[in-house]
């Protein structure tokens, strides 16, 4: 009994979130949707408690320490890092829902319930080595996201976004599950840590041993499972849904999908690749195989960033532009993965953390702008810089960070990625990424130009002071973490250490 309680304590953040979701749903039912402002405050309070618990968990876990709960959940710093960022990002998203001028003020209790549900899915999927729990977490996130994307069910755009999301989501879930079933058939286990090395006495068979016998089925299975992660992280060729869903979904939901959901996909992908190909005792044996997976990821990374940036150039809607830019950023993050070392992984984690700040800010600005002009066209941005100088300058900070220029956190993240890329001998990929950064300058500064282009007009009184405060806060974070990056760099360096990746670097034969 005591042991049970100890294990339950390890998943306290998840348990609190689950209780919170049920409380919010019941509260909404009892008050018949008349009390949505208080629901939001309740959600924020609950998330605050979760953040506090996660901070305690981070402190109590050692650098490489990992404890298991019920044999399914692996609690380590890697998972806690992403959970912490998810909870914080979700707080910002709840604030965005609260500040959304175009959203109804009543009868939207399910909004918060679904957001918390999606977060529970993320929490489980980033902290497990068990493919069953990983799949359930991913599906919980997906199912909540489908409903969220179609939250404005009377709007054709929202309904269409949701439909596209569920159709492509179903496809990738089917592909991923088929891959998992093949992996299970090949190795006899669904636990990633066992699957990598193999069990005692020859059963379950490690992927290494299986690879020697039947290389092609193993390759097929691994690539099929990668498809599921690629969908969540919107990596080519599973990116088709991204622009349509991001454009049609309500803006706070788009923010959630672009930031929390995407980072969760990457977190699960990092754990998957790390556990199967890079842990101690495996790396030697699957040396050539792991390098080939790295090459595949490098090619996907190059294609993803190029396609995202080239498509973003010809967008007229700011929301769609940010959608394509998020595809391009997925390509950058993938660069760190393609390196296939612990340092490369921590560069990816740092960039994901940077991506949280700058994209939350950019989407918060989008919400402000939609609230003012009721449009998301870049043309309607003209003169915003003179009418709303504070938020416009904050947006410039986000754009600078997204483009990867100093002194912002985006610059430092890219620097780390490029450094690791060159270090691992992926010079061609770094060259393509640098070229892409130049392309991206073009469209980010098109937005900045539109902001400050037209003649100065009179300043209008700020009608969204709370949202302005949030945007300014995020822009300060974007710049400050760029200049004083040592803390964030230390944390993102410590996070992947929990994956137990071998220190040996890949030596090309």
């Amino acid at each position: 009994m005591n042991d049970y309680l100890v294990q339950l304590g390890r998943i306290a953040p998840e348990a609190v979130l689950t209780v919170l979701a049920l409380v919010i749903l019941t509260w909404d039912l009892v008050t018949k949707g008349r009390d949505c402002r208080r629901l939001a405050y309740g959600t924020l309070a609950g998330l605050g408690l979760v953040v506090w618990l996660l901070c305690g968990q981070w402190a109590s876990l050692g650098e490489t320490g990992a404890v298991s709960a019920f044999g399914m959940v692996t609690v380590d710093r890697f998972g806690t890092f992403f959970k912490l960022f998810t909870a914080l990002a979700l707080m910002v998203v709840v604030l965005l829902v609260l500040f959304d001028r175009r959203e109804r003020k009543h009868g939207i209790g399910e909004y918060y319930f679904l957001l918390i549900g999606a977060a529970i899915g993320i929490f489980f999927m980033v902290s497990t080595n068990n493919l069953l729990l990983l799949m359930l977490g991913l599906e919980l996130l997906s199912l909540a996201s489908y409903s969220l994307a179609g939250f404005h069910k009377g709007s054709q755009r929202s309904a269409e976004a949701s439909l596209k999301y569920i159709v492509f989501g179903g496809l990738s879930a089917g592909i991923m599950l088929y891959g998992i079933s093949l992996l299970y058939g090949l190795t006899g286990t669904i636990d990633l840590s066992v699957m990598g090395r193999g069990g005692e006495g020859g059963y379950p068979v490690g992927l290494v041993a299986q690879f020697a016998v039947s290389p092609i089925p193993v390759a097929v299975a691994v690539v099929l499972v990668l498809a599921g992660f690629a969908y969540k992280a919107s990596i080519v060729p599973f990116h088709f849904w991204t622009p349509d869903v991001y454009e049609g979904a309500p803006t706070p939901v788009t923010t959630f999908l672009a930031v929390a959901s995407k980072a969760a996909g990457f977190a699960a992908l990092l754990r998957f690749v790390g556990a199967l190909f890079l842990v101690d005792g495996v790396q030697e044996a699957v040396h050539a195989y792991g390098a080939r997976i790295g090459l595949l990821l490098a090619i996907l990374s190059a294609v993803t960033m190029t396609l995202g940036n080239l498509s973003a150039m010809r967008q007229r809607s700011l929301k769609r532009l940010l959608a394509y830019s998020s595809i391009a950023h997925a390509g950058y993050v993938l660069m760190g993965l393609a390196v296939m070392t612990e340092a490369g992984f921590s560069a990816s984690v740092f960039y994901l953390a940077a991506y949280y700040f700058m994209n939350l800010g950019a989407f918060a600005f989008l919400l402000y702008f939609e609230g003012e002009t009721n449009s998301d066209e870049i043309d309607s941005l003209k003169g915003m810089g003179w009418r709303h100088p504070v938020v416009a300058w904050a947006m410039v900070a986000f754009l600078v960070s997204l483009a990867g220029l100093p002194p912002t956190v985006g610059f430092y993240g890219k620097l780390l990625l490029f450094y690791e890329g060159v270090d691992a001998g992926l010079g061609w990929l770094v060259f393509i990424a640098a070229l892409n950064s130049v392309i991206s300058l073009f469209y980010y500064f098109r937005v900045a130009k539109a902001l400050f282009l037209t003649e100065p007009v009179e300043r209008v009184p700020n009608r969204q002071p709370a949202l302005t405060g949030l945007i300014v806060g995020l822009s300060v974070l974007t710049v400050v973490t760029g200049i004083f990056n040592s803390a964030l760099q230390r944390w993102s360096g410590e996070a992947p250490r929990a994956l137990g990746i071998s220190d040996q670097l890949e030596e090309p034969h």
């Binding site: 069953l132 489908y146 569920i166 159709v167 179903g170 879930a173 079933s181 058939g185 059963y203 622009p243």
Partner: protein, 109 residues
């Protein structure tokens, strides 16, 4: 009568291929979702075949039960996905009076 594992795997891959083909070719949303179910069931068959094969190998101390349990959860997920998908199709049908994928074209570019 004992069906060899290879036959089960071949059937699963045929089911999977049919699901992918249906997904790519058909334009009706309901059929597309049904194709996805076909793919999920291919995965289920694979799980069960794998579990049976490991049991036959005499995998002592192993857990061939993982496969059937996984398949049960896949069925559960498929049901949840179908519930949300069909609810959405009803919402779309109310707006557009059609369930063809091509008809939904507000978001392009």
């Amino acid at each position: 009568m004992n069906v060899p594992t290879e036959h089960l795997l071949a059937l699963a891959s045929i089911l999977f291929a049919l699901g992918v083909a249906g997904f790519l070719v058909r334009r009706n949303v309901i059929i597309v979702l049904a194709s996805v179910e076909l793919m999920l069931n291919a995965a289920n068959l694979c799980f069960l075949a794998g579990s049976r094969a490991w049991a036959a190998e005499g995998a002592a101390g192993g857990h061939p039960i993982q496969g059937p349990v996984f398949a049960l959860f896949v069925i559960l997920v498929a049901a949840a996905e179908a519930a949300i998908g069909l609810a959405l199709i009803i919402a779309i049908y109310r707006l557009k009076r059609t369930t063809a994928l091509d008809a939904t074209r507000d978001l392009e570019g």
